[in-house]
Subunit: 233 residues, 2 copies
DNA sequence: ACGGGTTGCGTTGTATACAATGACGCATTA
DNA sequence: TAATGCGTCATTGTATACAACGCAACCCGT
């Protein structure tokens, strides 16, 4: 299901993207965080100078950050006009979750033929941990589930061993829309999500790629359903 | 099968990428062209200053161009060290064509349910044109086939109407590796490729998404086969 | 002869200054 | 009053100058 961020922050720190201490990376993370937190709502107009002052750097690294964010699809650059935070339509929703379904099910299928015992063990442990959080208190603590869920999906990508596939999934999953999916889950949705996870692990154990792939596809599309009330998010 | 560039230059001119007359865009196209033409071989080290002089612009737009090319996967940036043109391994080959197979077959499936008569007519005309070129002289004129082939695959993306899917396919298809696939085709390979195209059109006419999707998957994987002799390209 | 430290050079990273472009408001005119 | 042309302003695009970093060669001490 539409988990929060399919990307694992720790592994995210490859050369190409945002981990280092360069000013450009700090600006990148700062602006990105702001957009994801709706500090700048969709449609907002971002001025380079202002961002530079807010981040405490010069315009040059801000420019680089904006270019990267544009490539990520978080905002749009219009020549001589500036950066505009992207808004999301129903079509975007369909496209994003359609891509996720295609790519992540592909990953699940690959992982089925490449998973080793230690991987299965860690996946199982993650399921345990997530179920513990869900069954814990009254209100579900999303801040504790989300990292576990990210790790689950990220581990699947690692097992599949397809770097490009993983990179594309991260591109898709790190959309504000997707990131907020998890928070919309009801207790029932969460329970189903956990079941999906378990079933995927089982399919991997059976080395049944078709099975794993199918469950993953359902898992993602179930997340799409949370947005059936449009809300123009 | 692995056609040359799946991207259609004309439609390429959306805001985000390379079409305008800005210095940064000129630098982008110049460097990109150089890499694709093997003017800078894989592993080559690119210096910003040198590129700036060659392009006739300053370092600032060159920097932007390098960042974009890095996002495209054509080169890799190492902090404080510079840009290095990417080399390709067998794993890259498998990943790239695997992604193409997944994404383009998805497009074909979508297109089957959305194609209109005028689309089918244009696809048919493109098949006619390509077959005319192939059956023409002694040696096949790739410079005439390639644009037609690009248009064929690009039109399928348009018909499918999924912008993100199209964007991702272009990302994958515009790798130097893929761009040179076509030139490796034997006359037999080309004939099979034309048959695939025809069959796809037929499947679209029958509104059979599964059929179209399957043929496209075969079409792409047949292109992968051309590289079975590694050659470390 | 070999190892460690140091210095010098080249390259990228960042900041600032200048030019060009598009948008907005105002005045002018029919 | 509405439409249009012009001027000003804000903002991005580009160029240049300076700082920081990494690498390599060299020198010196052992």
């Amino acid at each position: 299901m539409a988990d929060s961020a399919g990307a694992l922050a720790p592994q995210w720190d490859n050369g190409s993207s945002g981990g280092s201490n360069r000013a450009a990376d700090r600006a990148y993370r700062f602006i990105r965080e702001g957009i994801l937190a709706s500090r700048w709502p969709p449609g907002a107009h971002l001025r380079e100078q202002e961002l530079a002052e807010l981040t405490g750097v010069s315009r040059t690294p801000v420019r680089e950050a904006l270019r990267r964010l544009s490539a990520d699809g978080l905002l749009q650059l219009v020549p001589n006009l500036g950066a505009k935070v992207n808004a999301w339509t129903i079509q975007d929703l369909d496209e994003i979750f359609g891509l996720r379904a295609t790519l992540e099910s592909q990953v699940a299928g690959l992982a089925a033929s490449r998973a080793e015992p230690q991987h299965l063990a860690e996946l199982g442990a993650l399921c345990d941990a997530m179920e513990a959080v869900v069954g814990d208190g009254d209100a579900v603590d999303f801040s504790r589930i989300t990292p576990l869920n990210d790790r689950f999906h990220g581990l699947l990508i690692d097992i599949a061993g397809d770097r490009r596939l993983g990179q594309m999934i991260r591109q898709v999953v790190e959309m504000p829309l997707v990131l907020r999916t998890f928070a919309r889950y009801s207790r029932r949705d969460l329970a189903r999500s956990m079941n999906h996870h378990r079933e995927i692990v089982e399919a991997l154990t059976a080395r049944d790629g078709e099975w794993a792939s199918s469950v993953m596809r359902a898992h993602v599309r179930a997340g799409r359903a949370v947005f059936t009330v449009p809300k123009t998010e």
